[in-house]
């Protein structure tokens, strides 16, 4: 399969302050993508910036995919100036995807801020293959950082909102809600967001004996596993410590394989 595509931008809208959704036209990408995978976008034709930018696939349509992104530096700033009708070079889909094992009846998603990006596609897939709507905890700094809420409700998901300043939903952190949730039985948790949040979600899941998959981020150069720049310390093969490539072995990891004590704050 060809992984380099010149994609037409068919939609590009602000969805919140500093946040945008972009739809990229490509039957090829759409046809080969699974929830959790990511793309490497070429931001400009020149050497500023030099490297591509990794972005999760938000939704998969029949003739394209969408991304949801936050402007946080020079690259994403330039990205936000591109217009519908322009083309952008996209590499992907890359990386692994969220496993959706059968033996679990309850699917719980915990998203912090822009970490919500890979989840609309995952919800659609779980609905399709398991026929249940996952429950969702949507956390953010304030109400402007709660994205995709409407989409999740439309898909039938029970959605809990929580903000650090209490401007929407409960006041507090995602983990405060998680601790209060009354869930029993085999549960699987999917999470993405700030690293401290993922770590705390992981700890709670260990206590409850829940399986937890996290989508991790790392600085990336190649996105294809050749540069070894994006690694995290992990124990993937039995008894064998390794530096796992977020772009190849990940970005989705069973949080139990990550050697959290070896990752700094």
């Amino acid at each position: 399969m060809n992984k380099l595509h010149e994609c037409l931008i068919t939609l590009h809208n602000p969805v919140a302050p500093n946040h945008y959704r972009m739809v990229l036209q490509s039957k090829d990408i759409a046809g080969h993508s699974s929830p959790g995978q990511f793309l490497m976008l070429e931001i400009s034709a020149g050497y500023y910036p030099f490297l591509r930018r990794p972005m999760s696939i938000e939704r998969i349509f029949s003739d394209g995919v969408s991304i949801l992104y936050k402007v946080c530096g020079e690259g994403t700033k330039i990205l936000s100036t591109l217009s519908v009708g322009e083309k952008i070079n996209v590499q992907g889909p890359l990386g692994n995807s969220f496993p959706i094992p059968k033996e679990y009846q309850q699917y719980l998603i915990i998203a912090g801020g822009i970490g919500v990006a890979p989840f609309p596609a995952l919800v659609e897939k779980i609905l399709n293959v398991r026929g249940v709507a996952p429950e969702i905890i949507l956390a953010g700094k304030d109400y402007t950082h709660l994205l995709c809420e409407k989409d999740f409700r439309q898909m039938g998901c029970k959605t809990h909102l929580v903000t650090e300043d209490g401007s929407a939903g409960d006041m507090g952190l995602a983990t405060d809600i998680l601790k209060k949730l009354n869930i029993t039985g085999p549960t699987i948790v999917y999470t993405c967001g700030p690293l401290p949040m993922i770590k705390n979600v992981h700890k709670i899941c260990i206590e409850r004996k829940w399986l937890c998959y996290a989508s991790l981020e790392a600085e990336m150069a190649c996105g294809e596993g050749v540069c070894l720049g994006c690694v995290v310390p992990a124990k993937i093969e039995v008894e064998n410590e390794m530096m796992a490539r977020v772009c190849k072995e990940g970005p989705i990891f069973d949080t139990q394989v990550i050697l959290w004590e070896k990752i700094g704050e």
Binding site: L4, Y47, Y48, E219, A221, E224, C227, L228, M243
Partner: protein
């Protein structure tokens, strides 16, 4: 018009003068999904060490203007796993293989080279005497590289030279006042070729945390930012030694590759730019052929070192 793109390093013939830089192509598997990697003049693999190495603690890369810093720290599968799990794939693809090796002593380099020769693990050996990322900069602000000592370069080269028959390439560091000195030493030591340049030492600081962006503090700079520096070193070295020079440092396009060849490089390698465009080496091979045709050159070797300085 028939154009000869074949070039030689020692007794090894490459079908064209384009290879990839060690550490930017893994062991070939990943980018073989993008193009037929046997079309390359050679595949140069990630540095191999006697034992597998985990490499440095992340973050290991930072983007910089027109390039990047890396402090990978030679993470690699080790020579045995390479021979067992990586080599069969490269052989099956029919690639010409340049195996890059890294040791912490003369004995280690000799062992690695002998092992590779015995097991048919390479068509040429590239000795990495210039990796900037295997020292902890917090403890040692001076990071000595073998490539910084002409005397050691000769010792290391001649030791490996006398133990294997495979074509031998020595990879040198730009972190030095006069790169022609270690280049001459490598030639005297019996090298068949010289690879230049490895990365330039650099650093980058997060102004909010006032901490280095790389966990290793310092790293190696690569990409278009270093191209003019690399080009000058290729020009200097190729005028000084008689053995072929493999030029690298920020090569992205056919025009970049031509600059290196005209300056004196017999072979060119694409490195960091692969991360932007995995197809760059293939575009460059075609581009070199097109250039030769439109300039009525029937042999690319006639272009090597053809620079005119008025």
């Amino acid at each position: 018009m028939n154009v000869n793109l074949q070039v030689s390093i020692g007794n090894l013939t490459l079908k064209n003068p384009v290879t990839v830089a060690s550490g930017t192509f893994g062991y070939g598997e990943e980018y073989s999904e993008y193009f037929d990697i046997s079309e390359l003049g050679a595949v140069t693999v990630k540095s191999l060490t006697l034992q597998p190495r985990l490499g440095n603690i992340p973050p290991r890369i930072v983007e910089t203007p027109a390039g990047m810093l890396n402090a990978i720290g030679l993470q690699n599968v080790g020579i045995e796993n390479y021979l067992k799990y990586k080599l069969p794939f490269l052989r099956k693809q029919n690639c010409t293989i340049i195996a890059n090796i890294y040791g912490t002593s003369i004995e280690e380099y000799v062992k690695l080279a002998e092992y590779l020769e015995k097991e048919g693990g390479a068509d040429a050996i590239e000795m990495n005497l210039s990796c900037p990322n295997v020292h902890d900069a917090r403890n040692k602000f001076k990071c000595p590289l073998i490539a910084q000592s002409p005397e050691w370069v000769e010792k290391y080269t001649s030791a490996v030279r006398s133990s294997v028959k495979l074509p031998l390439i020595v990879k040198l560091s730009p972190n030095i006042t006069d790169i022609t000195e270690p280049a001459l030493s490598a030639e005297r030591g019996g090298a068949d070729g010289i690879s230049i340049i490895n990365t330039l030492l650099g650093m980058s600081i997060n102004t909010h945390t006032r901490r280095p962006k790389l966990k290793n503090v310092v790293g190696g700079l690569s990409g278009p930012a270093i191209r003019p520096v690399a080009l000058k070193m290729v020009w200097d070295v190729s005028r000084t030694v008689k053995i072929p020079v493999i030029g690298m440092g920020g090569i992205c396009t056919t025009s970049d590759a031509l600059e290196f060849i005209i300056a004196g490089a017999r072979v060119v390698a694409v490195g960091s730019y692969l991360f932007r465009d995995p197809l760059a080496p293939i575009r460059i091979i075609q581009g070199l052929r097109d250039y030769c045709i439109s300039n009525h050159l029937d042999d690319i070797n006639n272009l090597v070192g053809s620079i005119t300085v008025d």
